[in-house]
């Protein structure tokens, strides 16, 4: 299966998941994206086999007086692919930034 498109939002989600296993709200805070935007990204990553998810213990959540959370983590294959994809995307951005930055001593006209 081909990997998901490496949009900026997907990269932000993968950058957080590479660091730790996390859940929706925490992922939203860390990536700066609303949780609604993250959900379809996680759906695509799960379908591609990069991410796996698990529900936390319902009793533990009930003791804390809150709804149970769904935790997302990268699979082994997903971690390798995510690291590669993020490195490639960073190289591409560096190349673009270098192309777009103004050159010193350029002709103003």
């Amino acid at each position: 299966m081909t990997g998901p498109r490496m949009t900026l939002q997907t990269q932000a989600v993968l950058a957080v998941l590479v660091e730790r296993e996390t859940w929706g709200f925490d992922l939203s805070k860390a990536s700066g994206l609303p949780a609604g935007t993250i959900y379809p990204i996680l759906q695509r990553l799960t379908a591609a086999g990069w991410v796996t998810s698990r529900w936390e213990n319902a009793e533990a959540a009930q003791e804390d007086g809150r709804p149970p959370r769904r935790y997302y983590a990268l699979t082994t294959e997903g971690r390798a692919r995510a690291t590669n994809a993020l490195t490639e995307a960073a190289k591409h951005r560096t190349r673009l930034t270098g192309l777009l930055s103004p050159r010193p001593g350029g002709d103003p006209a």
């Binding site: 959900y39 759906q43 149970p68 769904r70």
Partner: protein, 227 residues
């Protein structure tokens, strides 16, 4: 230790992603961040002030529409204002008929609104002023009445919509029905968990708007990965 380039803090973290390698480094503990620069308050523009004034008057008028009797009075006032305004703008009223209609309206409003003598007195005085006004002023007064009617109508429509249109969270639950059955319960549980964790109303609104805006993508992806 390499110097990290200064990047502005950004909600989406785009600027931080521009140097992904630098994300793997963290600033040493104890490094104080620069204090925030206080923003100088700017006076709102005249357009903003005008919009606020209109919305403020509209919210006052909308309160008049509560209860069946006041609802009838409100819509009656709206229709009356439209008719009088249109006739005035079209020049279909003579100079002396116009103030008499205004006076009759003042009496009706005074009867409906109840013990508000200042309202009736004010409208009677205004009628007297109109009696002395030239015929050419009738068109301007007609325009004013049309403006009032439009305002009253818009306020009434907004008040009605506010009562019957679903709130954001209820709308989310309804829209969740578009998802495949298994995905639907996961998504709703996710929404529940995220909204429960939000600290304040502003965060709740942000997350609800985020979920609502992402409904089309979520539905399409949900059905696509299912197949």
């Amino acid at each position: 230790m390499t110097d990290r380039p200064e990047t502005p803090s950004n909600r989406t973290g785009r600027h931080e992603l521009l140097s992904y390698a630098s994300m793997r480094e963290r600033p040493p503990l104890g490094v104080a961040s620069p204090p925030p620069v206080p923003k100088r308050p700017t006076a709102p523009s005249s357009r903003t002030q005008a919009v606020r004034a209109v919305v403020g008057v509209g919210s006052v008028v909308a309160r008049l529409g509560r209860g069946r009797r006041s609802w009838v009075a409100l819509w009656g006032f709206f229709l009356g204002a439209v008719c009088v305004g249109a006739l005035g703008v079209a020049g279909a009223l003579n100079g002396w008929v116009w103030p008499l209609i205004f006076l009759a309206g003042a009496v009706v409003v005074g009867v409906l609104v109840g013990r508000r003598p200042w309202l009736v007195v004010g409208m009677v005085v205004a009628t007297g002023v109109l009696l002395s006004a030239p015929d050419g002023a009738v068109r301007y007064v007609g325009t004013l009445w049309l403006f009032v009617a439009a305002h009253v109508g818009a306020a009434a429509v907004l008040g009605f919509a506010r009562r019957w249109v679903l709130g954001g969270t209820a709308l989310l639950w309804v829209l969740g029905g578009l998802l495949p059955r298994t995905e639907r319960e996961f998504w709703r549980a996710e929404v529940r968990a995220v909204l429960h964790a939000c600290g304040d109303d502003r965060e709740v609104r942000r997350q609800v708007v985020g979920f609502l805006a992402a409904v089309p993508a979520t539905v399409v992806t949900g059905w696509r990965v299912r197949s």
